[in-house]
């Protein structure tokens, strides 16, 4: 008959919550907020994505419409690429507002991703963006706390706790019933957002696997807050103290830790600036070889190899354009360095991020935020994946143009203004972004974050067994 008792406590708790006008009002306000945030964020995401797609089409069309030119001019005319926004960015835009979303690609230079929203907004943006993720990560725990802080402490204050236990209700059943009631309430709080995710997945708009996991991650997070709140309510003597304690914990885990850790991480590991990197790449390039210097050993060697390959004695006798070949070799060298330096910088950023992520074990918000951004495809790894794809595309299109120079520009007597047909530009493929499989890109970290979130929930729920024992003793 134990489960019946648990069920009755749970039912009673539900009835009490529904009778509590303030609780119902707060719940409705939060639900309205989630819905509003979802609609706003959805609209915002679609507007951003379609603007980027529009610019991509326009800039590709401009590229194709260029007149007859020397291919090297097109290397510097370059291409613009825009990062398409993942579908689930509506739920959690992650770092997208902070990273640039357009890159200008040209020969022998690696430009930065520019025009992030954060750089073009007033400081208001730093208050947080009104998205489902923000509401669920930051505000929903507070509501859960307010609903649950008095659930047992108040019974104790009123003296009803002693009465209930005297009537033969086991302390364990009481806590289990209260816990289930508040877990259900937490689930209800997350329901509007969960429904938005499920609908998006059901109509085939959002990836179903990631959507489901996103819903699961938030459910674990919210239920951990519910379990923790019931636990504190069972352990602390007065309702008021439980409230103060829980709000303090919320302040430290949700507001304080995520803010203080980045400064620590940034002070520990430094990432070189672009300027330092540019200078270092320039120097390293010089130490490999200088194509402008006729006596340079590296390029003399390169020349000898090319001459041998074509079986001629002088570059003037080559059937292909010599300076084009030098450009291809030069681009190959610089691109190798770009890759290396970019990887080093990203590794350092990851070192910084890891310093923060370790604290996910302390603050479930950090784990949740990480999992949320990963699943939404808006984390730093996804952004880096975009930058990697962009660099590969840059290299391919610059080398394709260099090859056109090699094959189509006469090696000797090209005339004062050699050009090749504009038809060539249309043969170059436009940038085709392939959205990464977010589940595979960060599988390890995703598993770790889910593990931490589950552990939080299981531990907090498990601790109530101890609390029940104490409850029995005290009364």
């Amino acid at each position: 008959m134990r489960s019946a008792a648990v069920f009755r406590v749970m039912q009673e708790e539900g009835r009490a919550l529904v009778r509590n006008r303030v609780a119902v009002l707060a719940g409705l306000i939060l639900a309205a907020l989630v819905i509003m945030a979802t609609v706003l964020s959805l609209e915002q995401r679609n507007a951003i994505d379609s603007a980027r797609a529009r610019y991509q089409v326009a800039s590709d069309a401009q590229f194709d419409a260029q007149p007859d030119r020397h291919p090297h001019r097109m290397v510097h005319y370059g291409q613009f690429v825009f990062r398409p926004l993942s579908v689930l960015a509506f739920f959690d835009p992650g770092v997208d507002g902070f990273t640039g979303n357009t890159v200008f690609l040209e020969g022998h230079r690696q430009n930065s991703a520019n025009f992030s929203e954060a750089r073009q907004s007033s400081l208001l943006l730093r208050f947080g963006q009104l998205t489902p993720a923000f509401v669920l990560q930051t505000l929903a725990p507070l509501l859960i706390i307010f609903l649950a802080f008095g659930t047992i402490a108040r019974e104790r204050e009123r003296g009803t706790l002693r009465l209930l236990l005297a009537q033969g209700l086991r302390p364990g059943d009481l806590i289990a019933g209260k816990m289930l009631g508040h877990l259900a309430a937490a689930a209800l709080i997350g329901l509007p957002a969960g429904l938005a995710l499920l609908i998006a997945a059901a109509v085939g708009w959002a990836p179903p696997g990631a959507s489901l996991m996103l819903a699961l991650a938030y459910a674990l997070y919210l239920m951990s807050w519910a379990a923790g709140s019931v636990l504190v309510s069972a352990l602390v003597a007065r309702g008021r103290d439980a409230l103060m304690l829980l709000v303090s914990v919320w302040m430290i885990l949700v507001v304080l830790l995520p803010r203080t850790l980045p400064e620590v991480a940034a002070a520990q590991v430094h990432v070189p600036t672009r300027i330092e990197t540019d200078v270092a790449i320039g120097r390293e390039l010089k130490s490999i070889g200088d194509s402008h210097n006729p006596d340079d050993p590296y390029f003399s060697d390169f020349k000898a190899k090319v001459l041998a390959k074509y079986g001629v004695n002088d570059v003037k006798e080559l059937p292909v354009q010599w300076s084009g070949l030098v450009s291809i070799e030069g681009e190959r060298l610089t691109s190798g360095l770009f890759d290396r330096y970019a990887q080093e910088a990203f590794a350092r950023e990851q070192q910084q991020n890891d310093l923060v992520r370790v604290f996910g074990a302390v603050s479930p918000l950090i784990s949740l935020r990480q999992a949320s951004m990963t699943l939404a495809g808006t984390d730093t790894e996804s952004h880096q994946d975009f930058l990697d794809q962009v660099e590969r595309h840059r290299f391919a299109f610059v080398q394709a143009l260099n090859l056109m120079q090699v094959q189509q520009i006469p090696n000797v007597n090209p005339g004062p203004d050699p050009r090749i047909s504009a038809d060539n530009w249309k043969t170059l493929p436009a940038f085709a972004y392939r959205a990464p499989d977010t589940l595979a890109l960060n599988a390890d970290r995703l598993i770790l974050n889910f593990l931490i979130l589950s552990l939080w929930f299981v531990c907090l729920a498990g601790l109530t067994v101890l609390a029940a024992r104490r409850l029995g003793k005290v009364s």
Partner: protein
Amino acid sequence: MAPLKAELLLLLRSRISALALILLFVLTALAVASGLSAVARQNAVIERVVAAQAIDRKVVEAQYGKPGTEAGNAAYYTFHLTTDPPSSLAFAAIGQRDIQPYVLRVRLLGLQSQLYESETFNPELALPGPFDFAFVLIYLAPLVIVALMHDLITGEREAGRLRLLQSLPPTGGDLWLRRTAIRYGLVLLAMLVPLVVGAMLAGAGRAPVLLFTLVSALYLAVWFGISLAVAARGRSSAGTATALVGCWIALTLLIPAGANAIITRALPVAKSVELTLAQREAVHRSWDIPKDEIFQPFFQKRPEWRDTPPVTGRFHWKWYYAMHEVGDDSVAGDLEAYRTNLAHRQTWTGLLGWITPAAAVQTLVHRLADTDLPAHLAYQDSITAFHDRLRVHLYPYVFNERTFELGDFARLPTYAPRASTQSAPVAPLAGLGALTVLALFAGWLSLRRMRKVSAGA
């Protein structure tokens, strides 16, 4: 003084109150230390970049300082470093300095394709926002005030002392106002001592620090007013705390985030992308059109070069740099539209200060620290002015076909960091002042109402 001292002892004997005040002091001190560390790091980065730039310049000088070098060639390969060091108050309100570049190199080419380059910064670290004095002031201090104030009256009622207290003859002014004033004084002390120490370490000027403390004091007063208003009406301590945290959520999280969503949609800044695309088109089109089409607008702007010999061949450096300048000028309209929208975004943010004190303080402290969007735009403007100086300095070489020698590198203009644009804008300051008066008045009204009710009972 005796009742004040007694009240002080009474307050500090409460565990939660003493803990909250100590916590506030420690957090403020940590935030100041963290801000100072961030500023020191930025200065160190600038030093590193200056060193890297010096190395680069040596290499360029060795290669393009050889006798007989074409000036256009030297100008093409010579980068010029600009820096935007943090202001002496930046430590207290880091603002956008964690995401805006504060070092940028430019050269004589079109500025519009160089001005918006980003620097490396870790977006995941920037996402939650910096931990500095401004953050403690705007977000955390109100919660501490809630902890100190939520049971001001209900706590006495719950302890059964309220009737007794209210029946006592008043000693030295109103009891509740006195208790509120003591709490206000302690909160001010806990926050301002670390701030002033930090300001002294950073060498900040007296006037901006005074204004900064004034803004902080007003903001804290708003929260004491709100707390008093709610506390005097509350029936239970838990209920008061809930209502106050609700106010906090609305004023520091919801309204600002909601307003930002609206401003972002209403004032798009897509012009930035459009002007970059247009500038590229203008510069590259120049290779395929008669040179006259470049020189005509160019000579109109810079008539001093009108009488230099015409360009007859395929390429000449003066044509090359003229086309870059004309390319910049061709997007002036887009640029203005872009900057207008950025300015509007800032203006609307300032106006929001009339509704929520958090937005007013956010605007004010970062304007005082010169670390907001207008500060970065001022940096961009100073780069634009420097770039123009560069053009004026180098055009005589290019247009008069003078060669560039080693000694000419030393004569190149150098960028001097912009003067601080720190200011105390009137709109948010007036808004904050009005909100302070309003909140304190609401607190006073609630107290009066409570007294009437209890007198009637």
